[in-house]
């Protein structure tokens, strides 16, 4: 079975939830401290939500310089699945692993509420188990979730099938209703909503399962691939 590393920055707070969620789906997930520089043992990585380094300066601005980020970039480079949820998405954009930036919500308040997402691409490690057009109810929980990018970037995202999730009813002013994007190769995904919070009807929705199950499957694939190519 694959091993998923869940990166903990000081100030992260969703790391336990992500581990619990992945474990509930049968995955094997472990916490990885941000000072770690060797991630060779992990087949996939999650940058969880929270307030890495207090979100001081800008969300992700300081976290991007955490020692672990070099190894995260290397993992992204060699094709391993890398998922940034909420603050993790902000870190990935600040680190340049995903294009664009996340600005304060249009309404200038923090928002914690369920949203309806529409799957826009099934090509990413997160959405590979979902259907394009499928609607998923997944909560958001952020202050800076309004996705911005310039026109050229936006065109490239659309043309490259890199927009993976859009809001049915845009809560924060994101360009193109974007809730989540992937890199060109689809192995690095960032999204503002929290799929780990939508794992059971008891907590309000189970629609996050299809996303995290897809991610775990991608992690398994990466593990198998790494076995094959291991020196």
């Amino acid at each position: 079975m694959s091993r998923v590393g869940v990166v903990v920055f000081p100030g992260s707070n969703c790391e336990h939830d992500v581990v619990a969620a992945l474990s509930a789906l049968g995955g094997r997930a472990e916490l990885v401290w941000h000072a770690e520089t060797d991630l060779a043992g992990y087949d996939a990585l999650v940058l969880p939500g929270g307030f890495a380094h207090g979100d001081y300066l800008r969300p992700g601005a300081l976290a991007r310089f955490s020692p672990v980020m070099g190894a995260v970039a290397a993992a992204a480079e060699d094709g391993r699945p890398v998922l940034g949820i909420c603050n993790g998405f902000q870190v990935l954009t600040e680190a340049g692993l995903l294009p664009g930036a996340l600005q304060k919500n249009r309404g200038l308040t923090f928002l914690c509420q369920p949203t309806t997402l529409v799957v826009a691409s099934a090509r990413s490690v997160l959405t590979r188990g979902a259907r394009v057009g499928q609607e998923l109810v997944v909560p958001i929980n952020h202050f800076s979730g309004s996705y911005v990018c310039d026109d050229a970037t936006y065109r490239a995202l659309v043309e490259g099938d890199q927009v993976v999730l859009r809001y049915a009813d845009n809560p924060n002013g994101s360009r193109g209703d974007i809730a989540g994007i992937a890199n060109v190769t689809g192995n690095v995904v960032g999204l503002m909503p929290h799929p780990e919070r939508a794992l059971s009807a008891l907590l309000g929705s189970a629609d996050g399962r299809v996303l995290l199950e897809g991610f775990l499957a991608a992690a398994d694939d990466a593990a198998a691939q790494r076995l094959v190519t291991a020196p």
């Binding site: 380094h53 300066l57 300081l62």
Partner: protein, 84 residues
């Protein structure tokens, strides 16, 4: 006349600035060892209609203390940059 005005809002001396302190703690690791005493503040650029630069300064000053800052913890400084 329209005047371009800037209002700088800074934390008063003695008031903790956790954001500045956190940035400062991160600097050595980024190779900026010689930088310290980081303080954060807000800046507003605005255009004020007034008869004179003095009038613009007054309007902006009142705006600065009433809306843009809380005088209990912040100081506000107004600069009339020029005619807009």
């Amino acid at each position: 006349m329209e005047y371009a005005v800037r209002v700088d809002v800074t934390l008063r001396r003695g008031i903790a600035d956790p954001e500045g302190a956190t940035i400062e703690r991160a600097l050595p690791a980024l190779g900026f060892a010689g930088v310290h005493s980081v303080r954060t503040g807000k800046a507003f650029a605005l255009v004020v209609e007034a008869d004179s630069a003095e009038g613009a300064r007054e309007v902006a000053g009142s705006l600065a203390t009433r809306l843009l800052s809380n005088p209990v913890i912040e100081d506000a400084a107004v600069t009339v940059v020029g005619v807009a």
